[in-house]
Amino acid sequence: MTIEIRSAPHIKAPRNVAMIMRHVVFSLMPVCAFFVYQYGLSALASLLVVTGSCLLTERLFVKTGTQAGDISDFSAVITGLLLALSLPPAFPLWMGAVAGFVAIALGKALTGGIGFNVFNPALVGRAFVQAAFPQAIATYSPSFLPGRFSEFVPSSLAWPLMQPADLMLWLKVKQLDALAAATPLARWKFEGVLAGAEELLTSLSGHMAVGPSPLLILLCGSYLAVRRFLDWRIPAAILGSAGLTAWLLFALSPERFPNPFFMLFSGGLILGAVYMATDMATSPVTPKGMWVYGALIGLLTVIIRYYSGLPEGVMYAILIANAATPLIEKVTQPTPFGKSALAKIGHAKRGASYPLHPGYISREEAHAVTPKKRFLWNKPKRDERHKPGEHR
């Protein structure tokens, strides 16, 4: 019998990187399926091309030894799927391939691969195409078009390096409601048309030109949160802070600003909050930091949406918060056990004398009173805290 010598712990929780990534991919599957059901062939092609491009790029950089990790860890699949879901469903495929390449090459490989990326790769890819192809990225095809499974939306199949065909024209030729080709956010922003409650409800289930269904994303995200594959604090903080900021502005002038529910459920806020901001490598690890990070994203999103020239603000909000992550982490380190205010009072030096805890219970009353958990009412009084020369 040969024995091995290894340092403790000798057992290991069954979770590993590939498993975490795999679960995120699994949880994205219903979202993708509904996305394809909504937009048909174009969406399917977009998902496949963008993800394929991400995987090929990852393979290239891993093969050449530029980045850590390997292709089997599924992280490139997540990047590809999220990128495709955040792009318009009929985005020209060649542009999608470029976006995938940029996402992995600039967003991930440049900084050393999995775990080392500063920015969410999918958002880096999207930011690039937003800057490079502003017109294509603002054009949404309406969902549930008749015949969406038999033919592509013409913009999907644009020749590489060519601009896509005009979607509005195509819609007119097909005699469809061309208005729906603008997202509710863009229509509010540029045309001053606010989505009504009915429209909001239909957009919740993905019945408008909005991309993947927010309700489905919330559902799939909560599965991940329950299984602890993402931290619930981040989406909670984002939605909370975005909702609060939007509600505050709405309360100040209801005629200028849309109501907070519209803010929360339109555009990519839910997708960003659940799947993109929670990207592990680019979000803080400390619980307090997660709250700060989420609150920052929510606030920035609403500010960008209200005051900038862009219809959507989630992407930039998350990228800015990604950049702030190291700083946030630095100032929100957890308090170690035994270093809190109460514990400091009874600070004792190991091996030297043992100054007594001021909340010390005498031997006689010991059996009647038990030291309680720290609450407002049994915090030591101020004068007890500062007895000169006694407890230090």
Partner: protein, 457 residues
Amino acid sequence: MKLVSWFRGEAFQRGVHPPSCKLTAHTRIRRLPFPPRVIVPLSQHIGKPPRPIVKVGQEVVRGQPIAKAEDWLSVPHHAPVTGRVEFIGLKPGMRGPWVESIVIRAHPGATQEDLWGEPRDLSGASAQEILQAVWDTGMVGLGGAAFPTHAKLSVPQQAKVHTLVVNGCECEPYLTCDHRVMVEQSDDLIRGIRYAMRATGARRAIVGIEDNKPDACDAVRAAIARAGTLPEGEIHAEMVPTKYPQGSEKMLIMALFGVEIPAGGLPVSLGMVVNNVGTLAALGRLLPVGQGLTERVVTITGPGVARPGDYIVPIGTPLSFILDFAGAFDAQAKEVILGGPMMGQAAASLEVPITKGISGIVVMRAQDMQLDRERKIYPCIKCAQCVESCPMGLNPSMLGMLAAKREYDLMGSRYHLGECFECGCCSYVCPSNIPLVQQFRVAKQILREKAVARKSS
């Protein structure tokens, strides 16, 4: 004791839930026969090793002192078998390097009864006399840390102790020796608690038992009821929610009372003394008969063992003898762990003996360790699992990154490396297989060496 019960729902924050795998929770403690020779290492505890007082060739009787304590943090040893001293010198130790040991060849047919020591009455003894009696037994903490018990029970001049906390948690997977001791030796345990209460002056003792062993709690409560009203004060058994690492005294006090022991402080600064149930049960058995510690209960278990169980093992029995007896060589055993799988050490050799601080021998096969096949180490993906699980509230992710950059001083000064007690929760949960706690051990060792160098220069 309603208050403590009220806190039952309140455990400490964070921690992990490894699979408990208590294979031997319901088998009775059995006795192991004597090996042909026992190896008693002189250094079995924290502190200076004792000095041998026997010569090679000398006949010794089971229970006879064979090594004498040198200073305060050192305890005597007693002969575990009746036989002849064969060798005094270096033998392989459990940590790898060779250690000074006394080898005794057992007489064939020697009895397992202790032949040394005589009954005594400690009912009127003062705290000092009880401490001296504890010291004479050579008792160290049987939970694993092996800190001399008399030193742990002695209360500093200025401090007053009001509570004796008895640690019956046994949060490590696989280990059940404390569990079985509570079930089968609960009267000894109560007697030991009474001695410890007299030694420390505590008026109250609380046995903290994890709620995955309700039968142990019932047994201890029954024993308390049998003991009736005690002159020393009152004893209670309390259940605490199961979680690793509750066996740590800081975590147990947090779970029972909801107070944090100050960083760098000891429980005695809050008026508490913590002792392990195995230690107190052994004290309760040994003190009235005036004998020394010659044997202890060891859990021999793991998926690689054919006949797992809790055994009374003479101190100094070589691992190979025990494993042979328990049938570990039939399976494809891969790793022999001394202690539990979370904090125990891998045995460097099968010729090393059982010492006073070893509570279990866990034999693992390769497939049970749930390690990745190739044990591929990924970069840290900052999943925050380690931060969520660190019971001391540290940031193992950050510490690990600093360790990789060899920024040991920064780890100690800014990120509280000194607070880490190496429970291994961070390494257990890390999905990237980063050996976090292993890195911290190295970093702490380097910091310690640096501090020593600074002091001497």
